[in-house]
């Protein structure tokens, strides 16, 4: 029996226990393959939905299609899968930082289905975030299957996201960079290698199944100094578009939270609104990759007015879809909005400065995409590499970097946090590796408690107390009720120091007269960061821990420093 299940415990082999890099790389390949498959699966089902619904698009009631899709996806997520709406990436990040990347198995397919319903029916959202969620859940599930520990599981969750991004965009480098910059938040050698391998596996499986195609093939851009100068302006436009989209999404979400109607009704209202919008501006529907394609090729019809209108309409539609409970990500909408912004900006320049030798508008659409991704996600590298890989145009590298970096910086002034991190940060749940909050979040009260305190009874005379003092090593003496064992208060050495040489008081003062009967106490499940805050506020160095009205020990800053250093050491060291 044991022999047959042995292969499920690879981490127990002494070879892998010492150095698990090979193990992680080989399991990373499996994870990458599966998440690449998930990406291909979502892609196929989106195409299937689009083709199936194509002949209905021109009917008068077609605006109800996004409503039905959003409603179905909302009902599916909420009632059948019992998961929250939204794109899921904050959940992945939180799980990585708090629970070692523990995700539910059902997350590996739930978002795929719900987002294909939302997007396939015309909702304005992207398939990337759902696929990232699936990839992460696949990584987590496979890690659990092999009984790996938290650190290894986190790496595999990273492998899953990298494989998913690599698979859906056919962009392995972007998968790697996105995972490092957004999901894990640390660049460590032990992580990079398995994740890179998984990204390759994810990209390869999608190439095998769908062919090695560049999503928005483009070439022949001749960048001149004027373009570099113009890209500065584009960066600022992209930054403001990012801010607009971030605020729009949040505002819309805020509005929808206030309305007390079932989630699926909200989702269908949002969907219907998007459908109506789609009547006038058909570009806003779906993931919108078709219009990006047109813009980059430079064959987008419509003047500056149409482009600007589409730009705002897409922001509005995306806010409606995602804010009102549809399921999907913001990656694809960002790309669409970015390319509209780039196009509009280019046309504005061409209109304002006729005769200036600018590169063609496709290049600006491309730069706009990078600017939006970098701004919204606060991830310049992800923006640069994504655009580089999905357009395969290396010649735009210089303006690409300029736009990404400046857009990130300008957006940062107004929206200091990435769209994915904002909610987490507001809840104090963004715990990046190696930071103070992460170290404190990991240490539990039980780990820093000191139990070698001598308890005293309230009826004890000062003389007896001083006799006890001789044999004690601590400065705090908890007072307990001798019968019930209840915690009554605490005597601090500092409280009695002035009486030590006053022999008259020895037999006249009882412990209960000198104890502090209302000290601030700590409970087992308290957060260490909060405890420290209380200590700082009250300028205390120790606090008693009380559980069920009984004294169990002390928490002191001195011991905490020791534990804190150990924890920081252990968390920041690379592997073993």
């Amino acid at each position: 029996m044991r022999k047959t299940i042995f292969w499920r415990y690879p981490a127990r082999l002494s070879f892998f226990r010492m150095d698990d890099r090979l193990l992680l790389i080989s399991i990373g390949v499996i994870v990458g393959l599966f998440s690449g498959l998930a990406a291909v699966g979502l892609n196929r089902s989106l195409i299937f939905m689009l083709e199936g619904l194509y002949h209905l698009r021109h009917l008068w009631w077609a605006f109800l299609l996004p409503a039905a899709g959003a409603m179905a996806s909302s009902i599916f997520l909420e009632k059948i899968m019992k998961e929250g709406a939204g794109h899921g990436i904050p959940e992945v990040i939180y799980s990585v930082s708090r629970y070692g990347g523990l995700l539910r198995f059902r997350s590996s397919f739930s978002r795929l289905i719900s987002s294909s319903l939302t997007i396939g029916s015309g909702g304005s959202a992207g398939p990337e975030a759902p696929v990232v969620m699936s990839g992460a859940a696949i990584g987590s599930t496979i890690a659990r299957f092999f009984y790996l520990n938290d650190r290894q599981r986190t790496t595999l969750v990273g492998c899953g996201t990298a494989g998913a991004i690599a698979g859906i965009f056919n962009a392995p480098l972007t998968g790697l960079i996105f995972t490092m910059e957004i999901i894990l938040g640390e660049w460590s050698m032990v992580n990079i290698i398995p994740i890179a391998v998984a990204a390759v596996a994810g990209a390869e499986i999608s190439r095998i199944l769908q062919g090695n195609s560049i999503a928005f093939e483009s070439s022949g851009f001749h960048i001149t100094g004027v373009d570099l100068f113009a890209s500065l302006g584009l960066a600022v436009v992209a930054a403001f578009a990012s801010i607009l989209l971030t605020r729009g999404l949040r505002r819309m979400h805020g509005v929808s939270v206030k309305i007390k109607i079932p989630m699926w009704v909200k989702a269908s209202i949002g969907g219907a609104a998007v459908g109506l919008l789609g009547f006038f501006v058909p570009e806003v529907l779906g993931e919108g990759y078709h219009s990006i394609h047109d813009m980059i090729q430079g064959v987008f019809k419509g003047g500056i007015g149409i482009a600007a209108l589409a730009f705002f309409a897409k922001i509005f539609a995306t806010s409606l879809t995602l804010g009102w409970g549809g399921s999907g990500g913001i990656f694809a909408p960002c790309l669409v909005i970015g390319s509209f912004a780039g196009l509009a900006f280019h046309r504005l320049l061409a209109f304002g400065f006729p005769g200036t030798p600018l590169v063609n508008e496709g290049c600006f659409a491309l730069l706009g995409m990078a600017g939006l991704i970098s701004g919204i996600l606060q991830a310049p590298l992800t923006g640069i590499f994504l655009i580089l890989e999905i357009t395969a145009s290396y010649e735009v590298m210089l303006p690409l970097i300029i736009v990404s970096v400046i857009s990130t910086t300008v957006t940062h002034y107004f929206e200091p946090d990435s769209f994915y991190h904002k909610d987490l940060k507001e809840r104090g749940e963004l715990l990046r590796p190696g930071t103070d909050s992460r170290v404190l979040a990991d240490i539990g009260i039980r780990e820093v408690i000191e139990t070698d305190c001598i308890t005293v009874s309230p009826q004890m005379l000062l003389r007896e107390f001083f006799h006890l003092l001789k044999h004690s090593t601590r400065n705090y003496f908890p007072v307990e009720d001798p019968e019930t064992g209840e915690f009554l208060g605490i005597v601090e050495l500092g409280d009695v120091r002035s009486y030590i040489f006053n022999t008259v008081m020895y037999d006249t003062v009882f412990v209960e007269q000198i104890m502090n009967s209302n000290p601030d106490v700590v409970h087992y499940d308290d957060n260490l960061a909060d405890v420290l805050e209380t200590m700082d506020a009250k300028s205390r160095f120790s606090m008693p821990v009380v559980s069920n009205n009984r004294f169990v020990g002390m928490v002191s800053k001195a011991t905490l420093l020791d534990k804190y250093r150990d924890e920081l050491n252990v968390q920041t060291s690379q592997a073993f």
Binding site: R151, D442, G444, R446, E447, D566, N569, V570, S573, F576
Partner: protein, 228 residues
């Protein structure tokens, strides 16, 4: 290698909860199997070194045992030995002979120890009166001995020791300890015994090793009982 989680926590001097969490999080090269941790010993030692921890090999450390258990003085005296008829006409020669008799003291540490004892005597004599002297070095011995030792030396003939009561000394207790704490404990216990007049007159009769140690043990048990 396989040990219980509690044992590993003890060896690494880690909190049990912390160790448990570190194993779960994969921050320490130990895997868990039921309540047992599986690890490779050299690997774990290397890990401990690089993480500011020490890995204790032996199941129990000796030092703590001596300090915690009772009868500290008696066991130190047992290790130090009881010698009768120690030769010497004056203080330096007596001390020199005593140092040579200390059991298990490597030869190269004898001369430094002798010099340290003379230095100490130059400050103020260790003759505490009633014919008893307790020579000891000023600083704890960090080399040569691993645990506290008290050597008992009955002299062949009493010598002038410049004692506080000017009486010639007939017995020496040489106190050697690797720690200050151990030294103070031994000193306080020995002086407690010497305060007892009957004990000093018992010493004057130069009892045999067994009788002497039995008497000290009895008195020390008395002290242990009081402390508790």
């Amino acid at each position: 290698m396989k040990l219980t989680i509690e044992e590993i926590a003890r060896r690494l001097d880690l909190n049990l909860e912390t160790l448990d969490r570190w194993i779960r999080q994969g921050r320490i090269p130990v895997t868990k199997k039921g309540n047992e941790g599986v690890f490779n010993e050299p690997e774990l030692k290397r890990w401990a070194r690089s993480h500011r921890r020490s890995y204790r090999m032996s199941p129990r450390s000796d030092k703590n045992e001596i300090q915690q258990g009772g009868c500290v003085l008696t066991s130190a005296m047992e290790r130090g030995g009881v010698f009768e008829g120690v030769q010497g006409g004056d203080k330096p020669s007596v001390l020199k002979n005593c140092v040579a008799l200390v059991p298990d003291l490597p030869l190269e540490f004898q001369a430094p120890l002798y010099n340290q004892l003379l230095e100490r005597e130059a400050l103020i004599s260790t003759g505490v009166g009633r014919g008893v002297a307790i020579p000891h070095p000023r600083n704890p011995l960090d080399q040569g001995i691993s645990s506290p030792v008290v050597g008992t030396f009955f002299l062949d003939q009493p010598v002038d020791y410049e004692a506080i009561d000017d009486q010639p000394v007939f017995v020496l207790f040489l106190i050697l300890s690797p720690t200050v704490q151990g030294h103070l404990t031994l000193l306080s216990r020995l002086s407690y015994c010497l305060r007892d007049g009957t004990f000093v007159s018992f010493l004057k009769k130069i009892p045999g090793r067994e009788a002497f140690l039995a008497r000290v043990k009895k008195m020390e048990k008395n002290i242990d009982g009081k402390e508790k």
